[in-house]
Each structure stands twice: as C-alpha cells, then as structure tokens.
Amino acid sequence: MAGLHKSEIENPVLAWIDTRLPVITLLQKEYGVFPTPKNFNYWWNFGAIAMVILGIMIATGIFLAMNYTPQKDMAFDSVERIMRDVNFGWLLRYAHANGASFFFIAVYIHMFRGLYYGSYKTPRELLWMIGVVLLLLMMATAFMGYVLPWGQMSYWGATVITNLFSAIPLVGESVVTWLWGGFSVDNPTLNRFFALHYLLPFVILAVVFLHVAALHVTGSNNPLGIDVKSPQDTLPFHPYYTVKDSIGLCVFFLLYVIVICFFPNMFGDPDNYIPANPLATPAEIVPEWYFLPFYAILRSIPNKLGGVVMMFGAIAVLFVLPWLDTSKVRSARFRPIYRLVFWLLPVSCVLLGMVGAHRPEEPWLTIGRLATLYYFAHFLVILPMLGRFERPLPLPESISQPVLRGGGPLPSHATAQTMEKP
C-alpha cells in the first residue's frame, strides 16, 4: 500500500496506529531524539514553562466555565459561588487568575531571552514574529478574561480600553458601538467576551504549534549564538532537556503554588471584589500588572489618537525587530556594548510598569515620557546604530570547541573527544 509510513515502533498496537498516523514517530522525532544545542542555560526553560501554563489555563478555564454564568446580573455571583460552593472552586479560580500572571512572567522572560541572545535574527525571523502574534493573542485573551467577573475594575477597564478605539478617525465611534454591541459596556459585551475568551486559547494553542514547528525547522538558538556545526554540538531532547525543563518547571510551579495558596490576591485589584456599577467610577482605573507598561505608554502621549498609536506601536516595533538590529552577531555575550545597553530595556519596562500604576501626574508623567522615549529609541535608534559601530568579540569556532582538546580556557584534563564530522 503506497504512502503508508514504515513504522519502527516495536509495540504492535502502537505500530498499527503509527503506520496509519505517524504521531508516535513524530513525537519521538520532535521531542525524543531532536538534536538540541548542548549548551542551553535555564533561560531556555521558559518556552516549555509557558506551554505547560497554557495547558493549566485551558484545563482550569474549562472547569470554571462549567460554573460561570456570562450574564451581567449573575456573573459576579457565579464567581463567588465558585469560590465558596464548588468543590475546589477556590483553587480553580485562584489557579486561573494567578496562572494568567505567571503566564506573562514566563513569556516576558522568554522574550527577553530572545532579545539578549539574538534569537530573532536570521533564520528565525518568522519564529519571532509568530511569537509576537502569540503575545497579542495572550493580551486579548487576558483582557477579555478580566472582564468576566464583572467587578468594578472589570467593567471600567473594559470601558477605558474599548473607548480607545473611538480615536480611529471617521469610523471610530461606529467601531466602538460595534465592539460593545450597544451604547456602553453591557450584557452583549460580556456575552461576546466570554465566547471569545473561550475561543482564543485554542487559537493560541494552534499558533504555538506553528511556533514550535518554525523552531524545529531552524533548530534552537543557544547562549553562544553560533550555529550547530556537528552532531557533537547537540544532545537529544529526551532525556537531557525533558529532565532539565522538569527541574525548572518544578521551581516555577513552586512559586506559582506559593502565590495561589498564600498570596492569591497579590496581583489583583481589591476594587474587583466590588460588583460593577456603571454609575460609580473607581478612584483609580488600573489594568493588571502585565498591561501596565503599555498603559503608561498610552498615557504619556497627550494626544488621544497619538497615545493609541504609540501603544500599538510598542508591539509593532517588536514585529520588525529582526530588521532593526543590524548586528551580524547574535548573542550579547560577544557584543560588549549591547551586552550592557540591553539591560536598559527591561529597566525601562519596569519603570513604565510603575508609571502605569500611578496617576498620570508628576513626577510619574515625566518619568513615563522619558521611559517611553527610551523604549522606542532602543529599538529604532540604538539597535540599528549598534550593529554598525560595535566591534564584536571573536566567536568560538563551534559550541563544542571550548571543551575540546586544546581549545578554550579550561584545564587540560577536561577535554572531550575531538570534533566529529558533521
């Protein structure tokens, strides 16, 4: 029979399945023997961590949805019922709400890893852009999810952010009415946000599949930023990185569980425990922490449309990053200036986050404007220029070379076999 896969699985049942749909061969190839650079550090753990959290979010989300009512008069109470009456409902809710925060922690670290080690550079440009799409999907999902409990911050955060679209010239007001399904954030808005919040995570799952596929075409980057030259530079993903990832996952999970069990409302705003009141605006309308830097950028521009453009621009600039950075060297380890300049970016992001948490008054307003200026300058001015003027350090010949006989600053007895042919 032409086209059938020749399975090498021993087990007859698995071989029968694998011949007809080679999923087992696929798993063995992509997650079993897959040649992975052997010099990964723990910064490479966070992609896998993010994937596990996605699974947790989908699982807890589905079970929460069995008890949640997406109607404005019942939503808040249905969440309280989950917290009080549903078996382990409190755990589902806290795991889901804090899982969102931990998802963003993992993804932000994952992105900064990419920025430091040049993982967005050729040939991984598309991989990076798919990642930015994932970030956008996550932000949309998180935004809509936060509306569902229908607390004060749910309602007013939704009002502020949906109102932004009125800045679009000509069609702005119509767009906002269309988003709302009415003349303010109301029941139609809640209902559609619930439907979309249930949908998008599965879209995220599909795009994660593309993300991993793109990665497996190019192979992973590594801390040295140089290409794999021979099989000796690699290790099979299982058991080396399955185990290493498990360790990192355990540490991450421990922090996650500590927050769920002992500080479950640490990330949240107390105002969201007040049922939504369209006639009473809270003193401070603040999004969740992972949106604060974007919120700060939005409010640092005195013009409404300008603020919206700059906020989306902050993500747009990430999209085109592979073409902004002109350096031929990937890893910051061999870029003595970028290695230091890089850190200004996370610092400015944290600063922007703090600005976003405060009212748009001095001194935060000026700090926010300067930090916004730096953020865009980093990508649009510094990175393009650095590539031209920076003198990179000499790159090692290969990943294995520092540990081979006679190579690298290691004691002479600590050598491996000589390098194999590719």
Binding site: T60, F63, N87, G89, H238, P239
Partner: protein, 190 residues
C-alpha cells in the same frame, strides 16, 4: 553518532537484562512522583464537577405534617424529585398490612415501608418505577387504581396504599426516600 553519554542514556524502555540499577530506581521514583503530582492536579478538576455545597444544602427538605388530614396526601420537592407524603386512614393501613408479601410483584411488608409508631405516614418517591411518569392519586378526586394507592396514566401501572406495585408494567414498588421524624409532626427527608 552523538557522543558517548547519550549512547547509554538513549535506551528508553530497554532495561538491561542484568540487575536493577540505581538509574532504574531513580527513574521509577521520578515517574511515581510525577504521577502523584498529576493525580494531585487532576483530582480537584474532576471533584469540582461533583455536587457543590449549595446543591448539597438543598439535598434535604423539611416537611410539616400537621396540616395534612387523614386521607389526604401532599407532594413536596426533594432533590428535584416529587415526594408523596400520604396521611393514611386506619382502613388504608389495615389493607396494606393484610396483604401477603408472596402475592406481590415486588414483595415487601408494609412495616418495612413506614417508620414504626408512625404507620399512618407513607413517604414515597412519586416517580413510577416503569418509565418515570408521576402517578396520579394524591388528590381524592384523582384515580387511585384498584388498590386505593396510585394509578400511573402513562402505561397503567397501579400501586396500593403502601406504594407497592400491584399491576404492571412497573417492576418495582415506589421508592422510599431516606427520611426521619424530627418531631411527631415533622419529618426531614434526605
């Protein structure tokens, strides 16, 4: 191919024919710990689908018997099901007690279906044991069948004054829910 380390580690599932090694022990312990972890995660998800505290709170119903005169019956809702509470007349009690269990489709004594000292109170689940309709007979104006109990209009099953099936197609007597007398005139069902 790859370096020597991976050659020996990359042998999944092929335990050496020789003794059990420390590596095998470590693998077993790790997989067991992981399995326990997965179980600890999966159990709350599954248990969240079990009846929640508010559903369990509605799982018992108190009924005041004082307003029900002899010969009358009322229907109360318990766990979403109709419960017939019938105040039997002495004649109905005697008819029920006089029946030989061997004559019955589903043998049961009347004594086993009421609480001792409270023979006049019959508490049964008002769902026909055939296909689940609610039998008629609570009101004296409704047909009660040939044995004075209940008559199911769907397929003609008939029950006596002890709620026992006397004429099919129902295979079993009307079920007795768990209940207890909290006072002489009050019961708690469930």
């Amino acid at each position: 191919m790859a370096d020597t380390m991976s050659a020996t580690t990359h042998a999944p599932g092929h335990a050496p024919e020789k003794d059990v090694t420390k590596r095998d022990f470590l693998k077993l312990v790790t997989v067991s710990a992981a399995a326990i972890g997965v179980g600890a995660i999966v159990w709350p998800l599954i248990d969240s689908m079990n009846p929640s505290a508010d559903v369990l709170a509605l799982s018992s119903t108190d009924v005041d018997l004082a307003p029900i005169p002899a010969g009358q019956a009322i229907t109360v809702l318990w766990r979403g099901k109709p419960i017939f509470v019938r105040h039997r007349t002495p004649q109905e009690i005697k008819e029920a007690q006089d029946v030989q269990p061997s004559q019955l489709i589903d043998p049961a004594t009347d004594a086993s279906r009421v609480k001792s000292g409270h023979d006049q109170w019959l508490v049964v689940v008002g769902i026909c044991t055939h296909l689940g309709c609610i039998p008629l007979g609570n009101k004296p104006t409704e047909p009660r069948g040939d044995w004075g109990g209940w008559f199911c209009p769907c397929h003609g099953s008939q029950y006596d004054t002890s709620g026992r099936v006397r004429h099919g197609p129902a295979p079993a007597n009307l079920a007795i829910p768990p209940y207890a007398f909290t006072t002489d005139t009050k019961i708690k069902i469930g």
